[in-house]
């Protein structure tokens, strides 16, 4: 038996209403602003969706779990999202702890991938694709690690190039 909790309603991010004045808030704002300058062509709707999901995750983490996540993982998250293949859909964003953000892709019960972003240069991963599962950590140095590229290729074979 398992207990499911209804999802929180989506949140909206409005730069005009962002009154964060703390150092952490300013750094987060700069991360978001730089994310809007993605080198790859990113539809404005995708950017808004990403910001909405980030806002919703922050709210859920704060209200439901009492967790206020640090700003460093957000910068790492945006850096990673910049280098993803263009046609990979945006992930669901989950605040997992004060220093960890989860990025989830799910295309069925046996096609799931989750990345863990924290305040280190490493990206954690866990995946179940078909009957094969894996987990581990990969060093993120600005380009998509090969193991993650391979997992995205397995998850979205018709939309990505092999690493």
């Amino acid at each position: 038996m398992s207990i499911a909790v209804a999802a929180c309603p989506g949140g909206l991010y409005s730069p005009a209403e962002d009154t964060a004045l703390s150092q952490s808030g300013a750094e987060l704002r700069r991360s978001i602003e730089s994310a809007l300058l993605l080198p790859r062509e990113t539809p404005a709707s995708d950017t808004m969706t990403l910001l909405e999901r980030t806002s919703a995750a922050l709210r859920k983490g704060s209200e439901a779990e009492g967790v206020l996540v640090n700003v460093e993982p957000f910068g790492q998250m945006f850096d990673l999202l910049r280098v993803l293949p263009r046609d990979i859909p945006l992930p669901q964003i989950v605040v997992e702890s004060e220093r960890e953000i989860g990025l989830d892709w799910s295309e069925g019960s046996r096609r799931v991938l989750s990345l863990t972003i924290d305040d280190t240069p490493f990206i954690g991963f866990a995946a179940l694709i078909g009957h094969e599962s894996t987990h581990g950590r990969a060093l993120f140095a600005g380009s998509l690690p090969k193991i993650l590229a391979h997992l995205f290729f397995r998850l979205y074979p018709s939309e990505t190039d092999a690493a």
């Binding site: 038996m1 398992s2 207990i3 499911a4 909790v5 209804a6 989950v94 997992e96 702890s97 960890e100 989830d104 799910s106 019960s109 046996r110 799931v112 989750s114 863990t116 954690g124 991963f125 866990a126 995946a127 179940l128 599962s133 894996t134 987990h135 581990g136 950590r137």
Partner: protein, 102 residues
């Protein structure tokens, strides 16, 4: 049911579950609501699986064991310390569980 529903908190070493053998469907839901009421939560659904499903997860020492009280309370134990390994275990278990919506 999303695999995250199977994920214990990072600081916890077991996941509470309930033993439902020999219970009728309404009895299963009643048991769930009783357990949920203890923590002021609402039951929206459940995922059914057997002990061999748990033991088949690719984590050494992963198992489901009785853990009374209360009666029929059990726990999945043997969770690895590594968070990514925990996620992997959750994904494997969620994939074999039979889902039911309340």
């Amino acid at each position: 049911m999303h695999w995250r529903a199977f994920r214990p908190k990072p600081t916890e070493q077991d996941l509470s579950i309930a033993r439902i053998e020999a219970l009728a469907v309404e009895g299963i839901w009643a048991l769930g609501e009783q357990l949920a009421a203890d923590s002021s939560r609402t039951v929206y659904g459940r995922a059914d699986f057997n002990r061999p499903h748990v033991q088949a997860v690719s984590v050494a020492a992963f198992d489901a064991v009785p853990a009374p009280p209360p009666d029929r309370h059990a726990a999945i134990v043997g969770w690895p310390d590594d968070g990514n390994a925990r996620k992997r275990a959750c994904m494997e278990l969620a994939a074999v569980a039979a889902r039911h919506v309340r």
